[in-house]
Symmetry: C2
Amino acid sequence: VSSKYGGIRGLSGVKKIIAVSSCKGGVGKSTVAALLAKEISSRGFKVGIVDLDIFGPSLPTLFRKHERVSLSENREFIPHDVDGIKLMSFGFLVGDAPAVVRGPIATNYTKQLLTQTFWGELDYLIIDAPPGTGDIQLTMTQTVPLDGALVVTTSQILSLNDVIRGIKMFEKVNVPILGIIENMAYQLCCSCSAKNETFGQSNIEKIEDLCGVNVLAQWPLEKEWTKSLDLAIHKGLISSSVDSLMI
Amino acid sequence: VSSKYGGIRGLSGVKKIIAVSSCKGGVGKSTVAALLAKEISSRGFKVGIVDLDIFGPSLPTLFRKHERVSLSENREFIPHDVDGIKLMSFGFLVGDAPAVVRGPIATNYTKQLLTQTFWGELDYLIIDAPPGTGDIQLTMTQTVPLDGALVVTTSQILSLNDVIRGIKMFEKVNVPILGIIENMAYQLCCSCSAKNETFGQSNIEKIEDLCGVNVLAQWPLEKEWTKSLDLAIHKGLISSSVDSLMI
Ligand SMILES: Nc1ncnc2c1ncn2[C@@H]1O[C@H](COP(=O)(O)OP(=O)(O)O)[C@@H](O)[C@H]1O
Ligand SMILES: Nc1ncnc2c1ncn2[C@@H]1O[C@H](COP(=O)(O)OP(=O)(O)O)[C@@H](O)[C@H]1O
Ligand SMILES: [Zn+2]
């Protein structure tokens, strides 16, 4: 039994833990995390995702799974399995109503989700972290050692400071930043397939210069992804993004 | 001297006051407000804009004006004049550093900007309100009677509740909602000029059904507008939007 994760029973079969973060909601972080998980799973690896957003869980909607999870005899949460991907979320505990919790209760729930879920053998556990750098994110970095963090943003990031603060949070605890994925960076014309950029390059270059973090990939605005997480539409791009993560 | 605005000296020459609002930052509210002001001004009307965002003033950047304003003998702010449009903003008081103020100080500053600026004769005063429904927005509705409010949003509004709360704030004080402008709703292909929708229609229809507020216009994602407020690029659209405002 691996002691890599400090002897936490539920994580003893997990090989690598990657956090997917963002500095504000709505940039598509959960969508990106889910598509990356599906791609890694399609390569034959065992993958799990844990969604730490207490206030707006993502996994029930993304994977169309709304049932509660059951408990093992050791009182650990048994994650859902959808197409071979293990899933755990607050949405599977309290249903769709957003939890009205604050402070210490939220951090306790966060620790439970991370340490009391029985994942079994996983090559990768992907953490879908809530946007920002608050208590829940700090709890995440303090509760489990992360092998890497990926930042999801859009080219319209209006506050460079927010992105930089997020990057610094991981650097402070020596978590390597795997890179930035710029989501919704362009749209392929529905008529002629020309690439139409959304906002242009300037902000992303500034972050690269300021933090030394590089943009791994630019993903398109893909309306189909608002309806279903179809890998096939941009398989080459998602696949090379996973390659660039180099995990 | 008109007593329409409760005998506030600085507003005594103003015929109509319109608020431009949004429920979150970055939807392009200030850009839309400025373009509408320029269009109205191009029709020969006297227009002023007051930007109430203490923490992130918009007008200095949009109109490339950074000098401080001077005071009249009555200690009223003398707004800037750029191409015939009168402009007032916190950015013209404290420079580009965002003010670090909270609560009562912010509301006092807001009242001052609204009531102690000498606008002279104006057909329209446009208020660029900060996003949301906090103290500053409430102070605005309590300090000056508004002839109408316009809501700016994007098709990716993730929280219908926020939009609805904004609309209700105006309804509570009997301010007519002139309508919604859905910004960045589509992009014209740079290659073939086909219209590529950004996110689709569903959220906007829900708001229309829930609140009985209609979408006046859909404006495109126009990269040129991140560099300069050029009316000409979409003159027909901006012009018909002003017609639809029916003010
Ligand atoms: N690349 C994309 N193309 C089109 N829509 C996207 C894309 N990424 C995300 N979305 C949509 O944007 C919204 C927010 O995405 P989500 O993944 O929940 O963002 P976050 O986790 O950052 O809050 C959802 O409606 C989602 O379907
Ligand atoms: N229709 C549009 N097309 C392209 N860029 C836009 C559009 N509207 C706004 N922007 C850009 O989006 C950013 C936010 O716009 P801004 O007007 O400051 O939004 P808000 O007042 O809602 O915070 C700015 O960089 C602006 O140039
Ligand atoms: Zn095209």
